[in-house]
Amino acid sequence: MNSKFTRRGFLQTSAAAGAVLSAPAIARAGQNFSGKEIRLLTWSDNTGLAILENIAKPFEEKTGAKVIADRTGSTSEMVAKLRASGGRAQYDVITLAGVGAVELAGDGLLAQPDLNKLPNLTDVDPRFRTGADGHGIGYLLWTGGLIYNTKTFKEAPKSYAEMWDAQPGRLFMPPATWTDALDTVYATGKMLGGDGTNSDEAFAKLAELRRNILTFGENPGQLSELFRSDALDIGGVYAPAFFAKELANPEQSNMGATYDVDEGFFADLMYTIMPKSKPGEDDVVHAFINYTLDADVQGVMAEAVLNGPINQKAVMSDAAKASPFIIKPEQLSDKAVVHDKNFIADVREGWIQTYQQTLS
C-alpha cells in the first residue's frame, strides 16, 4: 500500500503557478528556477529554523525554486542516518558541522561542488572557503566560550580557571561526545601553561571538578532553565549560539557569555555539502549554496544565531556589530583556536573516553 498524501503535490503545483505569475520579478533577479525543487537537511534547533527564515524563504522568492526542508537532529545524527541510507540520498543540500562533513566525505558519499558556480566565495576569508577535501563549502563559524550566571558574575570571567572556583553543584560541562568537550580539555591544557595538547595534565586538573558538576549540558533547553532558576554559575566550553534569545535578555535568563578569556575561544567552521546522488538539479543547488554566502544573508544569519560570518563583506546591523556574542572575521586572528581536523581525528576517541572516565 502506498499512502503518500497528495496534499503536498497540490501545494507544489500551486506554488509553481504562483511563481509563473510573478515571473517578471524573478527574471530581473537574474536566475529563474521556478518549478525546481531543492531538498534541504538542516539542524532541528533554532539555527535550523533561522536557515528556513533567512535563507530558504528569500531564496524561494528570488529564484522561484522551492525549498523543501527537513529539520531533524544534530550533526552526528544526520551523519548516522546518511551513512545508513548509503547511496540513496534524499537530500540535495545539507548544512552540518565540520566533523560531519569530513566523516561523510571520507565515506565517499559527497559530491565536489563546482567552485566556479559559487561567485560569492571570492568574498569569503580564504581560510574558510572549502574543507573536507573540497567536498564542503564553508558556511558560518560556530564558536564556543564560557557561559556564566550574570547574578554571580558582575563582570565576565576572564579565564577558564573560574570554573574551578564554582560552588559544588553549580557547574556544568559539555558532554563528552561533543567537540566542546575536546575544546574544554584543550583550554585546560592552555590554562596550565601548555599548548593545549598536554592532555594528561589537563585531565588531572579536570578531575578536580568532578564533584562540582551538576550536569553535562546535553540539552541547551535544560541549561537555560537551570540558569533561569539560578541553579548554575558557570560552564564551558559551550556555544552562546544555543542561547541567542536568553543572552539578549540577561535580567530574565541570568545568562551571560564571553569569548574574551585568557586561554582563547574556539571556532569551528560549519559546511554546506551536497550528497553524490542528490535528486535535484546541479544549477539550483549551486545557486542555493552560493546564496548562503551572500553578504546580506551572512550578516542576517550571524545576528540571528550568533555565529561568525565568513564573508568578509557581511552586512551587519549596528546592533550586530556591537554584539559581544558575534565573532567578526577580524576578531578571529588573535584569540581564536581553530583546530586542525587531523589533530581532532587523532585525539578524539582517546579524549572522549578519558573525559568520560575522569568526570562521570
Partner: protein, 284 residues
C-alpha cells in the same frame, strides 16, 4: 493430560500470524548479531570478535552493573505501586473516575520525555519548587540534588515503566474470582492475610510478566539517563547511543546490545525458573 482444546496443528496455525509479524524484528536481531562480529566498525565486513574484546573494560563493567542495579530497583518500586493502582482501578465504580485514572497512568508514555524532564526540573531541580519550599521552611540550607544523578534516573525509570506494570496486573486482578476472596474473608482472614495468601499467589504470573517487561524496558533505556541523569549516569543505553552517533562504532554498539540482551534474557529465564520452582513447591 492435555488441557488443550487445540490440536498441535491448530496451535501452530494460531501462532503463525504473530510469527510473521515479528519476523522482521528477528531479521534485525540477526543483522545486529552479525554486525557485532564484523571486522569493521562502520559496516559489515569480515569476522572478528574485536568489538566484544574492546568492551571488556572496567568502565563498561561498571556501566553494566549500574544498568542492572537501576533497572532492578526501578522495577521493584514500580511493581509496588502498580499493584495498589491496579486494585484501585478495578475497584473504582464510576466510569469517569476509572477513565481518568487510566489516562493519568498512561500519561508518561504519551508525553515527549524532553518535556517531562522539563517538568521534573521545575519541581525537583536545585532551585525547583520542592527545594524552594524546603528552604523557605528552614528544613534545608543547601539544595537537595534529586536530579542529574542516580536518584533522578531511578525516578524517571519508575515513571516511564509504571504503565507497563499496571495494565497486565489489572487484567489479572479482574480475573481473580470473587469466590476466592469471599471465602477467605468469611473465614475471618485479615486483609493482609488475604493479600499474602490469596491475592498475591493468584497474581504471581501477571506480576512476573509485568516485572520482566519493566526490567527489559528499563535496562535498555537511554532517554531517561540522558535527560534526568545529566549524563553523569552511564547506563548501557547511553553508551550504545554514543557509539552509534557520534562515535560511529556500530559494531561496538551491536556488541554492547548483544551483551545487554543476553543478560536480560538470562535474568528473565532465571526469574521464570525461580517462580516455577516456588509455585511447584507450594503445590506439592
Amino acid at each position: 493430560m492435555s488441557n488443550s482444546t487445540l490440536t498441535r496443528k491448530q496451535a501452530l496455525a494460531f501462532a503463525a500470524p504473530a510469527f510473521i509479524a515479528i519476523l522482521p524484528f528477528f531479521v534485525a536481531c540477526l543483522y545486529i548479531l552479525r554486525f557485532s562480529l564484523s571486522g569493521e566498525q562502520g559496516r559489515i565486513e569480515g569476522f572478528s570478535i574485536d568489538a566484544y574484546r574492546n568492551l571488556m573494560t572496567p568502565f563498561f563493567g561498571r556501566s553494566v552493573w549500574l544498568t542492572l542495579r537501576l533497572a532492578f530497583f526501578a522495577t521493584v518500586i514500580a511493581l509496588m505501586m502498580a499493584v495498589p493502582l491496579a486494585f484501585l482501578l478495578t475497584t473504582l465504580k464510576r466510569p469517569v473516575a476509572r477513565r481518568t485514572l487510566t489516562v493519568i497512568i498512561l500519561l508518561p508514555m504519551i508525553l515527549n520525555l524532553l518535556v517531562q524532564a522539563y517538568g521534573w526540573i521545575l519541581l525537583l531541580g536545585p532551585s525547583g519548587a520542592l527545594n524552594t519550599v524546603l528552604r523557605n521552611l528552614g528544613i534545608i540550607d543547601r539544595p537537595l540534588f534529586l536530579l542529574f544523578n542516580e536518584t533522578g534516573v531511578l525516578l524517571g525509570l519508575i515513571q516511564t515503566s509504571l504503565p507497563l506494570a499496571v495494565f497486565p496486573i489489572v487484567s489479572a486482578v479482574r480475573a481473580i474470582s470473587q469466590e476466592h476472596l469471599e471465602a477467605a474473608s468469611s473465614l475471618g482472614a485479615s486483609n493482609w492475610r488475604i493479600f499474602r495468601d490469596v491475592t498475591l499467589p493468584l497474581l504471581r504470573p501477571a506480576l512476573l510478566g509485568a516485572a520482566s517487561i519493566c526490567f527489559a524496558f528499563n535496562a535498555s533505556a537511554f532517554a531517561v539517563p540522558l535527560l534526568l541523569g545529566g549524563r553523569r549516569v552511564q547506563m548501557m543505553g547511553v553508551a550504545i547511543r554514543d557509539m552509534i552517533s557520534p562515535l560511529f562504532n556500530w559494531s561496538g554498539a551491536a556488541a554492547a546490545g548483544m551483551i545487554l540482551i543476553v543478560m536480560t534474557l538470562f535474568l528473565m529465564i532465571f526469574s521464570a525458573w525461580l517462580v516455577r520452582l516456588t509455585t511447584e513447591k507450594t503445590k506439592g
